[in-house]
Amino acid sequence: MPEIELLATGEGEYRLHDPDAIRAWMRDRKRRDLVDKTTTAAEAVGRLVADGDYVSFDFSSFTRGPLVLVREIVRQRRRNLWYCAKFTLMESTLLVAAGACSKIDVGFMGLGETLSRAVERGEVTVSEWTNGTLTLRQQAGAMGVPFLPTRALLGSDTLRYSGAKVIRDPFTGKPIALVPALNPDVGLVHAHQADIYGNARCFGPAVQPLETAMSARKVIVSTDEIIEHEEIRKAPGLTTIPYFLVDAVVHAPFGAYPGGLPGAYEIDFEHFTEYNSLERLGRLDEYLDKYVYSVDTDDDMLETRVGLRRLKALRRRATIREGYGP
């Protein structure tokens, strides 16, 4: 039988996802009926995020990120999460500082000493990928295929410490990298709008909200606004994520805080300044206590730690609206 050369195999750790196992999950666990999925962040995370889960989120800590859900994961003291840092900054640091995360697929691990030290000390183990290949892995997971090909990674040490394989392409004879499908246990997406069933709309540029939702076994959508289902049916072209992919809908105005939601509110720079200085001083425990542990819910945090005036000012700064709404 003719064969194809396997030129290299990365040493990085990754979970093997058999598309047939994912298919069975999608058949059995994704509801096709239109049922009200609205719930609280506490209930959604309590039900859908387990210790040891592989967690992915879209899109970043600064822009349309489901920070409300990340904070709830921290609040509920999850442990040993494997985090997909495909375009991450603050939230990976928070998860590691809180002891919630023991593995990171890098991407971009996030800035700051907290993460660097944790990896240097071996408290967190990493696999090397790139923003593009983690995205591609989720695209494979979303397509129900075991891998996708890419011309990235080739020649780099990133490939060596990833889970990619290099084969000789049977069509052109040139080397090509194959990245294994990624099907996170949990996908977290923050949307501009969603109906109660989980049909969600994200506006503006994006990383991959749809593929994050398609590839994940359990999907929580937090949303700044709940809209009528009828609105979805009037403009189906605006639906980013169809309801049958979504397991819980969390109504969370300012859910992306301290990041911004384009067209709705801007980033809270004061907050990031506070965060960064505490991070540099190795005192993120104080930060977590103030913004997560000492408050029961994100709404409490927003009300008592940020305050209406500051939230109002963030909305006031969001003066660019073009393109960020229906």
Binding site: F87, G132, R151, A152, T158, P205, V207, E266, I320
Partner: protein, 266 residues
Amino acid sequence: MTAPPGFTEAEFMIAQCARLLEDQKTAFIGFGMPQVAAILAQRTHAPQLIQVFEFGAVGPMPLTPFVRNTMGGPANCYRSIAWTNMSTIFAQAQLGLIDYGVLGATQIDLFGNINSTMLGDDWRRPKRRFPGSGGANEVASYCWRTIVVMMHEPRRFVPRVDFITSPGYLDGTPEARERAGLPAGTGPWRVVTSQALFGFDEASHELTLLGALEGRTVDQVVAEMGLTPRVAAHVERLAPPSPRELEILRDQIDPARALIGRTAKS
């Protein structure tokens, strides 16, 4: 070194990088300094420079002042031509549609390999850990001409990086990138520092000094590097930022001097 009077090292670096960006070309823009350089280029000689970002914004005309960490926000993505997503924009780069890639780097070596992952000789026990590739590996793999922007600091230039996060010319042998399967005809094109401009020798693919900031000698430039670059037969004299470049940088783009105020560490 201290910056020549009248402008900072960062201001020179940014202006020099901007000058390299042609009008009516597509450019994959990394986080930070590359953003500021691209905006400066748009406001000087390259009004139709098409910036693309890894989260899928294509062709924006960013509003200023520039603010760090708002790359995905409305001001930076203002008046884009298209908003797509990471899969689509990297596909377009892989397809050969993106002319320039502009990246920062923690460490670079003689063959233009970039390290933004770790220092040390054992990946499992890094002496120092950095954030990793982000989208830099794709940009360095796919874009036709990669431009690296970095402070001119000895520790940033090493004969061989500890870890190739994003590929340069690898071991420098002919066709090394092509043999690895990387797109043909790509690779690092220029390295812009706070003192100098480098390219890569066609045959050896070694880092080659092409120009030095006015007032800096070749010896001074090379003395502050952790490797010995080739030196072009004719080393160009690089003009400091012009009054117009400085005015745009200081009054329009970065009045808070978040980026343009920076200086190198020796």
